[in-house]
Every structure is written in C-alpha cells, then in structure tokens.
Amino acid sequence: MIEAPDLSLAALAPLLFVFGAACIGVLVEAFWPRESRHPVQVTVALVGTLGALVTTLLLTVDFEREITAAGALAVDGPALFLQATIAGLGALSLLLFAERALDPARSAFVVSAAVPAGSPRDRELLTVQRVQTEVYPLATFAIGGMMLFVAANDLLIMFVALEVLSLPLYLISGLARRRRLLSQEAAVKYFLLGAFASAFFLYGLALVYGATGSVRLGDIRSASLAGGTDVLLVLGLALLVVGLLFKASVAPFHTWTPDVYQGAPTPVTAFMAACTKVAAFGAILRLLYVAFGTAEWTWRPLVYAVAIVSMVVGAVLGLTQTDLKRMLAYSSIAHAGFLLTGVIGLGAAGDGSGLAATMFYLLTYGLTTLGAFAVLTLVRDGDGEATHLSQWAGLASRSPLVAAVMTLFLLALAGIPLTAGFTGKFAVFRAAIEEGAWPLALVALLASAVAAFFYLRVIVLMYFSPPAGAERGQGPTVGVPGMPTTIVLAITATATLALGIVPGSVLDLAERAAIFVG
C-alpha cells in the first residue's frame, strides 16, 4: 500500500496556473492555425502569469505557513512574496515579447530558428511578417520554474526547478531576429556555462546528501546542528552556492552575463535580468537561511568575499563599456553584489533585517531594470536596436520623453534619492551595518559612487551632446511603441517613482513576509 502524498492544492495554485498555461501553450502551438496563433499564445501566457499573481495575492489573505507536497515545497512569506514578484515581472516581460509595432518585420524573434543565419532562405524570411510564437510557452515554463525555485524546500526540487527555468532561457536567448550570429553565440555560451554550473550544484547536492542522509532543507539543518559540520557538508555547501551564484551572475561567476545580455533579444534580456535574478536570490536566501542558518560561519566569509568582488568588478568594468546592453549587464553584476550585502544582513540565526531588505531590493531592481531594457528596444537604426553609446548622443533633443524615462531608470539604478533604487540600497546597507558588516557597506557605498558615474554619463550624453549622425541625417530613430511596451514603461516608471517616494507599505509587506518556514 503506497500512501498518497499530502498535497495542498490551494497552496500549489500559482504554480499550477503557470505550468498549466505553459502546457496549453504547447498544445496551441501544435493545433491552432498559424495566422491567428499569436494573439492566442499571448493571451494564454498572460492569463497564466497574471492568474498566478492573483492567486499568490489571494493566498496571502488569512495566510498560513505550511510545507506541502510531501515536504518538497515550502509555502511561506518569502516564497509568496518572491513568487508574486516573479509572476508580475514575468507578465511584464511577456508584454515586451508581444510588442509588434517596433520592428518593421513585426517581431523581435526569428521566424524559423532552424534556418542557418545569413542563408538565402534566412534573408527571405527576414522581411516576412510572420511571427514566432514558440517563445511564449517557453517563457511561461521558465517563469514556472522560477516560481518553483523560490519555494523549493528540497535540494532535488531546487535542482529540477533550476533546470526547468534554465533550459527554456538557453533556447529563447538564441532566437533574435536580427544579429542572429550574436544571438546564437550567446545561446551557446549561456548553455555550456549554465550546464557546467548546474553540474557543480548537483555535485554539491550529492555531497550534502552523503553528509546528512537527506536533501530536505530542514533535515540538513538538524543534521548540521547535531553532528557539527564535517568536511563533506561544507564542501557540498560551497558547490551548491557556486551553482546558485552563477545563476545570480555574481562575480567571479559572471563571465557569461555581458555576452548573453548583449547577444540575446532585448525583451529576453529584460526577462533574464529581472526574473532570473529574483529567482536565484530567492533560492540563495532559502538555502543559506533554512538549511545552513545555524552554521552561518561556514558561508559568511565566502558570501562576504564574492559580494565585494562582484561590486568592484561590476562597477569598474561597467565604466569601460561602450554598448548600453553590456553596460546594463555589468550594472546587474554590481547589483548582485549589493544584493549579497543584504544576504550578509541575514545575520546569525536570521534575526537581522536582511531578508526583508533583500526581497524589497529584488522587487525594485527587477522593475527598474525591466524598464531600462524596455527603453532600449525603442531606439533603433536600420539593423535593429541602436545600443552603441554614441548613437544615444543628443537623444533628448529628438525625443524628450524617451530620454526622460531613461533618465529616471538610470537614476534609480544609480540609487539617487526619491527613486526606488535608493530605498532598496538604503535597506540592504542598513541591514548589513546592523550585522556589523560596516566594511562591506563602505565598499558598497564606494562601488555605488563609481557605478553612478557610468549611469550619469549616459544621461549627460543624452542631454548635452550634439545629436548622433544629425549632419548626415542618419541617426537612430526612436520608434513609437505599441500598446504592450507602453503599458510596461508606464507601470515600471510609476512603480520606480512610487517605491522611491512612498515605499512604506511595500517595505512593511516585505517585513511581514520575511519569515521562513522549515
């Protein structure tokens, strides 16, 4: 007689929504006529993610922390907060995917990925107004994987979720319609390095299993309390953290980030920058706090060191970039370092305010970076997006509104007061200082100052330089966005301002959510 595992369907509803939508998307791809497939796919994907967002919010009403699915899933405050964040940001990214007004060929994605780039057939397809719809189910699967990732209470589920979120991302980063060689190269690099990193995660899992006889986070915690920490356990922890830091693009495991961010289609880059970061940090927080919270001394020096390396590498190399997508990639590496200062703020036994601060920072960073990449899709030249810095010179005189919105996002990324970025940075730095990590906070402040330089350089370039190519009449054009991108820009810009001016209620929410179960 096999006992059925306990399943709380209500608690699983957000995940079921997203994975259900993804499966329906696959069926639509197989059976729906091609001409009318695009609106159907967009609707299915949006219903799935927004449905997940709504069900997560409903779950928070008379909310009870629980461990369900035979102990594999934890439904607690951080899980729900991060799941809602991922679902919301995922829905916004899907809207960017669905934009059809900007590219003359009406989509950012290649019609047929199997056709070799540059072949006669490929050139023929470049101008065909057919759209690729496979990206929607793929992205929905990735969103589902991320939502599972932050709720996994079991290293095995965490590994499976890691792969469910990664595999679709490898594919969609290779699907750009223009500059296909760069896009394919990005996909290969991301795939090989990603598979390498997940092998490390997996070996860590095996060693932890060997040391404790279980992969449940709660069991690992009690085993490390009872038996002390032997070499196997510490080694396993180190390998697990390496695998996760890779996904979070923390230096020195960041080498894929600039290449993939630059090569992937910009909507996909926005998706990766916003959602993957949230998911990876959600898993890092859960692993370090639930499984290894009592053995804080084992991971604290490691996290401390990579936080510093990440902030310095991101800020310094960001200075030398001439491509905006690459610059934002280095900015994301620096931000990963700032987020790790929040992880340090977890403190011994998690009594610090680091958890709430990190979750809030993830939300603000996700919204801001999504908005910044959305602006990048607007400025175009004959061959897709114009991402070279020189092409942005004097943009304000041509399109004041776009320049103003970009300025807002860049100021938020730099952490200037009255934007969301400032509130987030303030929260994580305070959490780190409360835990006595003031040297780290000092480095973080210096790195912010250095990073502010390259954000402000773009602003100066947009407002105070003569327009690019004006004398030859061949500067980049600023596209008029369709409905989807307009909605994304409106929401992200409003949220960036609102979370900077009146962050109180969301900070409160993050603080109330900041209790792990398990």
Binding site: Q184, V188, L192, A199, S214
Partner: protein
Amino acid sequence: MTLTYYLVLAAILFTIGAVGVLVRRNAIVVFMCVELMLNSVNLTLVTFARATGTIDGQIMAFFVMVVAAAEVVVGLAIIMSIYRTRRSASVDDANLLKY
C-alpha cells in the same frame, strides 16, 4: 569501507569532466564532459544511498538522468544551429561577443 573507492572514482570522473570543459575546444566535446560530470554525480548519489541506507539517492539518480536527457535535447539543438551557420563547432570561433 570499500564504498570509499566508488566515491574517489566519482570524484576523479568529476574532475576529468571539469578539466575537459575548461580545456577542450569543440562544443560537442565540452558538452560530453558536462555529461561526464553529471554521471559522476549519479555514481556518488548511488554510493551514498548505499552508505546511508536510504533509497533517496537512487531515486535522485533517475531524476538526474531525465534532466540530463532534456539538457542533451536543448544543448544539441543550440550547437547544431550555430554549426549550420558557421560550419564549425569550435568554441574559440564563437568570438563576436567580447570585452
């Protein structure tokens, strides 16, 4: 006691795989090295299942196999697409994105 041999073998295989990823040029070979790493993990898992007297490790090995198979599908598709364009699967030739 003899279980140690299996663990050491798995560690050696994992190391060979990791070194292979770092030094080999052909994307397919790099990918095979990743698969070697995953399989050495399987060996470790099964050995630990025996050592700790729990069955979880064996079940996890099956999960790893399924995930590895899915990874092969995605990986070979990506490598194929870039090979068709460039007529080369060398990771050194993919050098448009840098600095």
